[in-house]
Symmetry: C2
Subunit: 470 residues, 2 copies
């Protein structure tokens, strides 16, 4: 199992061995989430919920099925999704009068109602989100967590009085994205997508991409809708000065791709490596005993398990009747951040051995220190592990983020390439064709233009980022 | 708004005023969950998750869409659902080769894979659950939380080596049901459904019903499947003695009807009354001030808010610019368990006034007591409130649970009627027709037979329960 030599094969194998999903469900692109994978996803959801609440978003749930009539109101949007929506056309023995689509995203479910909710500037800003299943009939090759047909999806929708206020919200959304990515130690780059690749109906789109296996993976997206949707759906309000205006809107989306990123960015040839913040199991206790010591060691393991559990640490004891070596191997594949070994020596010395998954480091922890304040002690180690994971991932990411010198280099090396650009759309598209790479857009938030356009040689005005992408 | 005189109208009005859902979604029977309702549902889910984990169930997520081919494997089951499933027949511009149904429940999604997971007795018991959206094309009149077309649904599925082991699991499931119902102070009765009303494919079905507005509401169901499904889906295992056997299965279901029960059982003419265990807001602080005292009182409110929040209490401050009376009214409608008032007098005396929603009782709490251990103090009041709510609901429930003396009484009174029964199916069905009531089944777990069958006069062998039902 080698991540370097064949990422795709490695990715599938890591997932297979980590018990996160079962791919044998008889519909293409729809997988069964097993407890190991689903609990990881739910832990990520919990983290997101906490952050959304802190930033004054409220959680809602809109129906899955959207009437064709509502969907048809926004033309740009339909064009973007028409080829990939599932349609419910029958119920029981009846053909439905109005066909219902399974949401690919919820603009067209939400916005007709927003126009009822919003009447006055005092109703603004409106800031909501939901965590739901969405559906896209992907025609490209499917890949677990990365390209699936039923997607575990997060979507935030906001309405504002002014374009500026919507712009400010986008900064907040970037702030939340940063916190979520940091919590799972995932580095990323924010690009403003080119106009021809923005979200259907958006004024502009920001893509948040991480990098794994030589390709970028979009793990989040933020859109400035301006008044495009509000005009189509009649979301207007009476402003302070008595005039009626259409609201300005933004959206922010993430998905189960966050799990895909954890697999692809952190994993190694032994298997998964899961960030402690979201790992379904943070510490696995492995008792090591023979017939004489069995009872004593099992009791000590039980005691420690109960103690850690009661302090809110997600802990397991592996007391299966297999060799310690097999247990080590098993939990390494699953990516549990810390293994804690309890054997005869450990009990006698009052000192446990822990093994840290990400860097294979062994440490010894005094039992007395654990007893004193287990939560604090382990929280500190978790923070440290997160930092190590981030540092490792960031180094890899930075190494792959290359200032392009020529097209030859772009074709030979694996990476994301910053390319000097004159500002002409033709140059941008032409470079996409020449390199066979995808244009992620312009670097968002900072302009590093210097020198000359890599294609035409005119003065550079901005930086484009190109990469192969999932 | 009178619960007594017109329950249906009252129920709709309470929901309307409590901001739990928006009914204006343009598909019949599909409502929008607003933050107030959705957070209540999520809190119930959290409680259920905690209990399921304690009883060694693992959480999974199976795809929503089920191929027609899998669905067709269990004939009884299809017969029961065929008239009420939604079908996805198209994706993009293509007709699907194999039609996909939107799960009405997940037996036919899960069991083909169970046959892969289960090979040996060492794979048993298998105990999983999921919390998902399910779909039923209801033709009867829809009612918020009670009869909807997209249902927020909980389903547990287990597989066992023997019928006895499956029977034991049913006792565990009843235990969990009891804990969930207790947590939301809802009284209920368990009946074994008559054979002609059991779940499609089950050996027998237990219905868990509460009572509100003169009708029973099924809030949970537990099914013994025996080997009916395992034979259809080939779920077999090699037993200790080397023989191959089909697994024995149970399921346990609950849904958003738990929210419906909270509304209908606890609510009063002022509005909702939400159990503190699951209320999105447990304590609302209402500052009462004039221009002179405004700053001081707002600061005190803020201080208390931060304190309670930091101790894990779900608390809000209502600092809107409306009269205290309007605020009181507003939070009463929403059913927040405790209102805490802070005015000039309260600050001076170091003593806050609280008002308990369920019985309108006023109390005074010393600020110093709150500061000392806010979590303990409020937890105790929450427990007390839960107990009062349960007692009140149980009295009402017991009063409505009537030993039927004759059919006339059953037609005149509102209630659930225990009827002596000879054991003949014809008598049971005939009484259903005569009274216009639904037969819930036989009282489960205790036999109170005495005297004579209410219809034919032969010796009573068991008790039947009849009621009008939602």
């Amino acid at each position: 199992m080698s991540k370097k030599s064949d990422f795709s094969e490695w990715y599938n194998e890591v997932i297979e061995k980590s018990n996160m999903i079962d791919k044998r469900y008889p519909v293409k692109g729809m997988n069964i989430w097993l407890p190991q994978g689903w609990n990881l996803m739910l832990n990520i959801d919990s983290y997101i919920r906490k952050e959304m609440e802190a930033f004054n978003y409220e959680e809602v749930y809109f129906p899955l099925l959207i009437p064709e009539t509502e969907f048809n109101k926004e033309k740009e949007h339909i064009k973007g999704f028409n080829d990939e929506v599932y349609w419910a056309t029958r119920a029981g023995n009846n053909e439905l009068d109005i066909k219902l689509l399974l949401r690919p995203t919820s603009e067209t479910a939400m916005y007709p109602i927003f126009s009822e909710w919003i009447r006055s500037h005092t109703n603004l800003p409106l800031k909501i989100f939901q965590i739901v299943n969405t559906f896209r009939y992907e025609t490209k090759q499917t890949r677990a967590f990365v390209r699936v047909r039923e997607i575990h999806f997060f979507e935030a929708h906001t309405c504002h009085e002014s374009y500026e206020s919507a712009e400010n919200e986008i900064q907040t959304e970037l702030e939340i994205m940063k916190k979520v990515a940091n919590a799972i130690s995932i580095p990323y780059v924010v690009c403003k997508r080119p106009d021809w690749d923005k979200f259907p109906g958006a004024v502009y789109s920001l893509g948040i991409d991480t990098f794994m296996g030589g390709r970028t993976l979009q793990i989040g997206s933020i859109h400035q809708y301006g008044q495009n949707f509000s005009k189509a759906y009649g979301i207007s309000f009476e402003d302070k000065d008595g005039t009626w205006k259409y609201a300005y809107q933004t959206t922010y989306g993430m998905s189960e791709r966050l799990v895909g990123a954890i697999v692809g960015v952190h994993g190694d040839d032994l298997g998964l490596i899961v960030p402690p913040s979201v790992s379904p199991c943070q510490v696995v206790i492995v008792p090591i005993y023979n017939k004489t010591t069995e009872q004593k060691i099992k009791e000590e393991s039980k005691m420690l398990f109960e103690l850690l559990k009661s302090h809110g640490i997600r802990v397991k004891v592996d007391d299966r009747d297999i060799t310690p070596g097999n247990k080590f191997y098993y939990w390494e594949q699953l990516g549990v951040p810390i293994r804690l070994e309890i054997g005869e020596k450990e009990v006698t010395k009052g000192e446990y051995k822990i093994k840290i998954r990400v860097n294979n480091e062994a440490r010894f922890i005094k039992k007395s220190d654990i007893l004193q304040n287990p939560y604090k002690l382990f929280s500190e180690i978790f923070s440290e592990i997160s930092f190590i994971m981030y540092k490792k991932a960031k180094e890899e990411f930075d190494k792959s983020f290359i200032d392009a010198q020529d097209f030859k280099e772009m074709k030979e090396k694996e990476g994301m390439f910053k390319v000097q650009w004159c500002g002409d759309e033709n140059c941008a598209k032409s470079m996409e064709e020449q390199t066979g790479m995808k244009l992620l857009g312009t670097l968002y938030g900072h302009n590093e233009a210097k020198g000359k356009c890599l294609l035409c040689g005119k003065e550079s005005k901005d930086i484009l980022v190109y990469a192969k992408s999932f």
